[in-house]
Amino acid sequence: MIGLVHQDPPVIGSARGRMDRDLAHLSDEGLLSLIAGSDEEALAELYDRFGGVAYGLALRILREDALAQDAVQEAFLAVWRTADRFLAERARASTWVLTIVHRRAVDLVRREELRRGEPLETAPEAAAAESVEETAELGFQRRVVQEALRRLPPEQRQALELGYYGGLTQSELAERLDAPLGTIKSRMFTGLARLRELLAQAGLKESFTN
């Protein structure tokens, strides 16, 4: 038997919440398992990992700080209530969490009819942005994703951006671009599939999760 390395096990006492716990060692998936057991510290750790990305996404879609905060709050509470369901999902924890965040933001933007504006205009930077250091990893991930988007054929990129960041439905997009619905569907499909390849090439897929 090879490789029986002696590790320092982070020990979590049964008196949970009262002892020092090193949740940083847990995978995102492990964290969700604890959240499914109503573990508040695990929820706090999950927020530390994804709160920034979630807020950035929500702000991009909603373009208003208060609404973006609402979306993030609703999303994390949905995670809190339904983390047990993640166990039956075929997804990484990061994908599951960010899918919920996106869904909440898009629901809100549709409800608020904020899309009447121009979805592609640059989102406002949050006031606090300059005062807080961004982790190098996040900055790297942003550059890789933006670069991958740039490398997509323009019509695929447009379909992804207007759909994902703009919150437009496929039929709204078809109308806006004056293109057949079938064309929009296939741009979305092909664009995502291509994006996935580009990200995998960039090695980003691995760095998204632990």
Partner: protein, 223 residues
């Protein structure tokens, strides 16, 4: 036409279906393995777009509000009976879960007494969670009951993951599991005692009596 339904997977992954189309597609998803496979990959790509949004830092109060609200809800509900609607395809999730029969078997068993298997171990006095590195960990109670939570992808065909309980270099089989996207939750078949280590290897389908490959994950020594 059936082809038209399949074509909705791209827009669905982007949350870009129109309201009326969504339910129909989710019903289709529950029946269509191919679309579920595709959706898993496309969702991952879509979620990565979140990282492409401009940098923004949420106000610190947001975290506090979320935690306060979570705490308040916890007091008002019975844990693991909080089954409110999530916006994602529940029918599809159920179908996917049905495929992961082994994991689901374990999970369903635990649901019958409304207990998360990990929670059921961790709720015993003196229970500990021992890290297995970044991929997961193992919850061990003083009575020897142990549950493994490990993020390993579905095992290739003809292969299975096998858990081991190791004392002084001697490994004893602790159960087989197939792996999946996300985290596998697996009860260890034999008691795990102080001084022992839990490891997981990839073995041929059906399992083996001694590990033949290098462990994919090894826990710290159980205290």
């Amino acid at each position: 036409m059936a082809d038209d339904v399949h074509a909705l997977v791209g827009p669905y992954a982007l949350d870009a279906l129109d309201e009326g189309d969504e339910q129909g597609f989710e019903e289709h998803l529950a029946l269509c393995e191919r679309c579920r496979e595709e959706l898993a990959g496309l969702r991952e790509a879509a979620a990565s777009l979140a990282y492409g949004a401009p940098r923004a830092v949420p106000p610190p109060e947001l975290k506090q509000r979320i935690l306060a609200q979570a705490r308040a809800e916890r007091r008002n509900v019975v844990p693991l009976r909080r089954r409110r609607n999530w916006t994602a395809p529940l029918a599809a999730a159920a179908a996917v879960a049905a495929c992961a029969a082994i994991v689901l078997g374990i999970w369903a068993g635990s649901l019958s007494n409304s207990q998360d298997p990990i929670e059921s171990v961790l709720s015993k006095p003196g229970a500990r969670l021992v890290s297995m590195g970044k991929a997961g960990g193992v919850a061990v109670a003083p009575d020897g009951s142990a549950v493994l939570a490990l993020a390993v992808p579905r095992a290739p065909s003809g292969k299975t993951y096998e858990a081991w309980v190791i004392r002084a270099g001697e490994a004893k089989p602790g159960g087989l599991f197939p792996g999946r996207a996300g985290t596998s939750i697996v009860r260890i078949d034999r008691p795990v005692r102080s001084g022992e280590v839990v490891a997981v290897t990839l073995e041929r389908a059906g399992g083996v009596s001694k590990p033949t490959t290098k462990p994919l994950a090894v826990s710290g020594e159980v205290a």
